[in-house]
Symmetry: C2
Subunit: 202 residues, 2 copies
């Protein structure tokens, strides 16, 4: 069971070590993790002539087309929302009909994060909601992030796992490990009683 690992983890100081750590956790749960930096099997020769950014984009799209599920890191990145490259991949996977699971090291919901990020720039609109200084509304649906993200995960049959830490930590993989365990159970049909089942009648 191949699972693509989308996230800003590639921006960490040692992304190769991060990928290895995430793949080891997947492997312990019977999953094959595919990290963005992995080579693409059967990559067309023509891609080597592309500018690096274009080639990487096509490689990641190819990775997603070759997996059975996607796990996305929704930990907020330079603002109240997740990394946009990660969210692009979430949308891409959703259109392909793949189950999408997510994890985040920030347990707050989108509205709370956005209001904290805006600080005194958040203005009440007099109807129980908030707007920023540009007049742009603050989403108030109780979602993890923009409603397209929550909606896609739910509609795909996926779920979100939150870290117990109250501050963002890029190093902590506890929530990711919980998410990998959840994905393994869902996709492989495992559940706590599965080992106690005897042979099934034909």
């Amino acid at each position: 069971m191949r699972v693509y690992l989308a996230g800003p983890d590639v921006f960490l100081p040692d992304p190769v070590a991060r990928g290895a750590a995430m793949k080891a956790i997947c492997s312990a749960h019977g999953l094959e993790g595919v990290f963005p930096l992995d080579p693409v099997e059967g990559e067309p020769d023509a891609w080597q002539a592309l500018p690096p950014a274009r080639r990487i984009a096509l490689q990641n799209e190819a990775h997603i087309r070759g997996v059975q599920a996607v796990i996305v890191n929704l930990t907020p990145f330079r603002g109240p929302s997740a990394d946009v490259g990660t969210v692009f991949e979430l949308g891409f996977a959703r259109a392909l009909g793949l189950p999408v699971f997510a994890w985040s090291n920030d347990p707050r919901r989108f509205r709370e994060r956005t209001l904290a990020w805006l600080g005194s720039a958040a203005l009440p609109d007099g109807r129980g909601s908030w707007r920023d200084a540009d007049g742009m509304a603050v989403e108030a649906f109780g979602c993890v992030d923009n409603l397209m993200i929550d909606g896609a995960i739910a509609a795909s049959g996926g779920d979100v796992v939150f870290g117990a830490v109250s501050v963002t930590s890029w190093q902590d993989l506890t929530a990711f490990a919980c998410c990998a365990a959840l994905v393994a159970g869902r996709l492989q049909g495992k559940h706590p009683d599965s080992d106690r089942r005897g042979p099934q009648p034909r």
Copy 2:
């Protein structure tokens, strides 16, 4: 030719008026603009029982499945990148094989915007690039936004149009109008010489 209009425009104080203005521009170019708030033809009755956020997400996905192209507003939203809901829809459209065009009222590239946003928190890595205080790399590919966005637009046959303004203005639709004109030309096969062509031999 139906075109979906993805963007944080739905968060403006009067999103209905904004949608009408954008659709009028599309119409002037022979395009039918589909705004996220538009009703979905043939929407399943069951969606009415869903929580609002989930229903809206499915409606927007259905909109994208029903168009021939997508125009996305990449103007930065609460951080150096575009709105994540918009980028989700870009990824969704890309996986469906749709041409994706974009516009932005911020003419700066991603690296310049990110460094301006980080300010003194941007630290040189000693190899000509930059990292933030968490050690996360700043992308330096000369892209408009995260490379997945640029790569998808280019690979889809689309393009990006920038506003000439040097500061973000949510009200200005000049760049959007230029983008709509570009899309009309590309998708409808119009070009400056088209009116001068006589009947073609069969």
